[in-house]
């Protein structure tokens, strides 16, 4: 299937699946390792892709994707274009809290080629939270991994009484303040 849908497949028991979409594979690997090193009590599977749509041959083997993280490198404009092109292959119901934009490379202020304004507008247009981080730094990477893990837990429905939609609303309201 060309379009990713959130409720197409059945969820696994006490498990969650994360999809990282971005152009820098090394950074994605680092982030994935940081997430896997966090302490958790549910099974997690991280899928890495450079762009959507995902190849349809292995579609039946893939689990239900709970959270998609689009990684945008602030130093390269083509990562933003890549992400925007991939957004077309995601179903609209995914944007009810199961999508997140992660902007990396924020530590270097002098080589920004994308404006933060543009990224924030993208996040507003797609009703998804935008996180800023610098994955080269150890501490920030660990913190980002923890945040993403918590978000994944909520989006997979593993936190009773709190759904992905309510979480996204909470993020949006606190961002407006």
């Amino acid at each position: 299937m060309a379009v990713l849908r959130p409720f197409d497949k059945l969820p696994g028991l006490n498990s969650a699946a994360l999809l990282l979409v971005g152009s820098d594979e090394e950074l994605q690997q680092k982030l994935a390792e940081a997430i896997l090193q966090e302490k958790r009590d549910f099974k997690i599977s991280i899928h890495i892709a450079t762009s959507l749509p995902l190849p349809s041959e292995r579609d039946h083997l893939r689990p239900r994707i709970d959270l998609i993280v689009f990684m945008i490198d602030i130093k390269s404009k083509c990562s933003l274009k890549n992400v925007e092109a991939s957004l077309a292959h995601v179903d609209a119901t995914f944007f009810l809290g199961k999508v997140c934009f992660l902007v990396t490379g924020v530590g270097r202020v002098n080589c920004c080629s994308i404006e933060t304004n543009a990224v924030c507008k993208l996040g507003e247009a797609y009703c998804s939270p935008v996180l800023f981080c610098e994955l080269e730094l150890e501490g920030v990477r660990v913190a980002t991994a923890q945040r993403l893990l918590r978000m994944l837990q909520i989006c997979a429905g593993l936190v009773p009484g709190f759904s992905a939609l309510s979480f996204s609303l909470l993020m949006r309201n606190s961002a407006d303040d």
Partner: protein, 234 residues
């Protein structure tokens, strides 16, 4: 999607059945309860998605209006609740702050002395501020009174000037009238004089024409001499 949720339960049952013989999983009662909560949450999400995907066969316009009305109500509710929440948070923070201050002051060490000093100074400064503000207020009141008096004086001045103007106008009119009257009177006077002159001349001529010797009779003489004095003045 309803049958998919049924499939979900079946699969999870199978999953549980598979997990038990494996022995690596620690399937205590707590974990089972936790899994049950998770499944409830996931089921709720799926049913919400199902409900969201349903199409209604009602009148589209009515449905839209209804939805709009409901959305507006919900938005106003949400705003009210947010406002009250913020107010309550502020009140709570204020209470916490006061409680912390009170505790600190009750401790009685040098920090609390500083706090007390500062508070006393604040009170003193506020008192002086209030005093000065009162003085300023009084001065402003006086200024306002003076301005008011000035305004009323100006009004009186205006009124008086207007009165003077109207009186002047009246006087001019009266003068004009008087002049007219005088001219009329002079004209009348002239007429009368001419008439009297004519009558005098007529008398003279009657007396002379009657051939009477008027020089002998003193009364006739007096009349003729008197008549000589012509009233007709140059």
């Amino acid at each position: 999607m309803a049958d998919e949720s049924w499939k979900l339960e079946q699969e999870l049952e199978q999953g549980r059945a598979q997990a038990w013989p494996q022995g690596g999983h620690d399937m205590g009662v707590l974990k089972l309860l936790r899994l049950r909560d998770q499944m409830k949450q996931q089921l709720m999400e799926y049913s919400a998605a199902v409900r969201g995907g349903e199409t209604t066969f009602l009148d589209q316009v009515v449905e839209e209006k209804h939805i709009q009305g409901v959305t507006e109500d919900l938005e106003t509710n949400k705003e009210e609740i947010e406002v009250s929440f913020w107010n309550k948070t502020l009140a709570l923070q204020r209470i916490q702050l006061m409680a912390a201050l009170r505790n600190k002051v009750n401790q009685g060490d040098k920090d609390s002395c500083l706090i007390l000093e500062t508070v006393n100074r604040i009170v003193l400064l506020s008192r002086t501020i209030i005093k000065y503000q009162q003085l300023a207020h009084e001065k402003k009141q006086k200024l306002i009174d003076i301005k008011r008096k000035r305004l009323s004086l100006k009004k009186d001045q205006r009124r008086k000037l207007q009165q003077i103007q109207t009186m002047k106008k009246k006087q001019k009119k009266e003068k004009g009238n008087k002049n007219l009257d005088e001219a009329k009177m002079l004209q009348n006077l002239e007429k009368e004089r001419l008439m009297t002159t004519v009558i005098q001349n007529v008398f003279q001529n009657i007396i002379i024409g009657s051939g009477v010797n008027w020089a002998e009779d003193p009364s006739l003489k007096a009349i003729v001499l008197q008549l000589e004095k012509n009233v007709h003045l140059p």
